[in-house]
Symmetry: C2
Subunit: 275 residues, 2 copies
């Protein structure tokens, strides 16, 4: 129908919710330590099963830290280890054992990822960027992890300054606005949504990131109540825009140098001819 749907072979990218969920991680090596970090970000409870001699130093630090982690110093023991588990991530070298775990998970309908065995995975991981509430995943659908990484670095460079902070503050603003003008659906919902879009499109991320409790109140008083969006200078004060506006200064500086160089060259040329 559309360009996308006639070009299948992709994944369904999702932001999986793990708050108060229980994740079993089988293995404790380097790959497992990366999984632990990803899962902790998502506020899950974790059980790690791995003989202590197989633990990577980062995994050890996670186990010894103040995280919601239960650790068992042994190998996987069968279906009873899957009781009350919402997700399973395995990262062990034993391919036969990995396949047994996958098959048990399938029977119990527990989502599972078996590291390095793509056909035993309900889902894959991708290259990820995180900046506070902002999370970005880059997947090449298994075609090239290296290019995913190169693209990740390019995206990191292109992200607006303080994007994560701006998103957090806009979240605060939205929640304060809902307190002030409550209601689900209908006109108030539409007006709220439109005003939030107006704020997000007319302020730069750097300005949004400067919001605080006091200036959020000012923005709602001066903006929402009069159905307008005041300029950021009137609410959060004047930023040193030349300092913040890196993408512009990158262009301006070489142009200034080129201008001076052009003037100097012409000067030298005319001066030498004149003599």
């Amino acid at each position: 129908m559309t360009a996308e749907s006639s070009n299948p072979g992709g994944s369904l990218l999702l932001a999986w919710q793990l708050k108060n969920k229980h994740v079993l991680i089988i293995g404790g090596g380097e790959v497992a330590s990366g999984r632990i970090e990803s899962v902790l970000i998502a506020n899950a409870r974790i059980t790690i099963i791995c003989p202590s001699q197989g633990l990577h130093s980062i995994t050890k630090r996670f186990i010894n830290g103040s995280h919601p982690i239960t650790y068992h110093d042994r190998v996987f023991d069968g279906a009873e280890d899957l009781d009350d588990v919402d997700m399973v991530l395995t990262a062990i070298d034993d391919v036969a054992q990995s396949r047994i775990i996958y098959s048990l998970c399938r029977d119990l309908k527990i989502p599972v990822n078996v590291a390095d065995i793509p056909d035993s995975c309900d889902f894959y991981f991708g290259s990820q960027i995180r900046d506070g509430p902002l999370q970005i995943m880059i997947s090449t659908n298994g075609q090239s992890p290296k290019l995913a990484n190169i693209i990740k670095k390019k995206i990191q460079k292109s992200l607006p300054n303080r994007a994560g902070e701006a998103i957090r503050k806009v979240g605060d603003l939205r929640s304060k606005l809902k307190d002030r003008a409550p209601g689900v659906g209908g006109e108030v919902s539409k007006r709220r949504m439109k005003w939030m879009v107006d704020v997000c499109t007319s302020w730069e991320m750097d300005d949004l990131a400067l919001l605080n409790e006091e200036t959020i109140k000012r923005l709602l008083d001066d903006g929402w109540e009069t159905n307008s969006v005041p300029p950021p200078d009137d609410v959060v004060g004047r930023r040193n825009r030349t300092f913040d506006a890196a993408p512009t200064s990158i262009h301006v500086f070489p142009c200034m140098v080129a201008f001076i160089a052009g003037a100097a060259c012409a000067g030298v040329l005319l001066f030498s001819r004149h003599r």
Copy 2:
């Protein structure tokens, strides 16, 4: 432990695999039509349940197109509609009914997303970019869909030219290399991985995108066999790099103008003084 793990409250971003899986979509409006498209990309079989008067024109086109879609012109009928279903996405206006569907899915351990009711979701969707095998998701963890959209547009602009095509060709190269030097684990695996990384880091995406069956063979013959990475000009031919290198030309052009302007100003100044 690390910056990330001490900053929780996020999601676990995943690339969910739906090939040969069965997705039930309840509802047929605008939101549902977006879900259908996302799910078709991931090669799922789809069942849509929605009274025909509630179908959006895009949903109708999907149903009437040549997609693996079964359509039922009725409302959701209870647990029997969930037989043999691997994922459920609902997008209906009836909040009470949505909550019933969520609860049934939970009991049957079927992953479920209920549009607009965040606490009845195992997972959320985010702003997405797709370019062939490249898929990118931007999530603000519900804080600001509008900023997610603004960031998505910035990322789209920053993506290397023909990134998707480059990824596809690198996938082809990797699979041809595996045919030539097969084996899992051990030295050959490591050498393959290292050589692929060398190719991806020393060639630009535009060059990788030019690969085809013939030049992949040449790259393997001249590169892999001699444990080197030949320059792209020797394999895929010379590109018109000044044309492709947009980010550079953006900088160079204003600098040239500034240089000429500087020269002109100096010329005029000196000339007028001289007279």
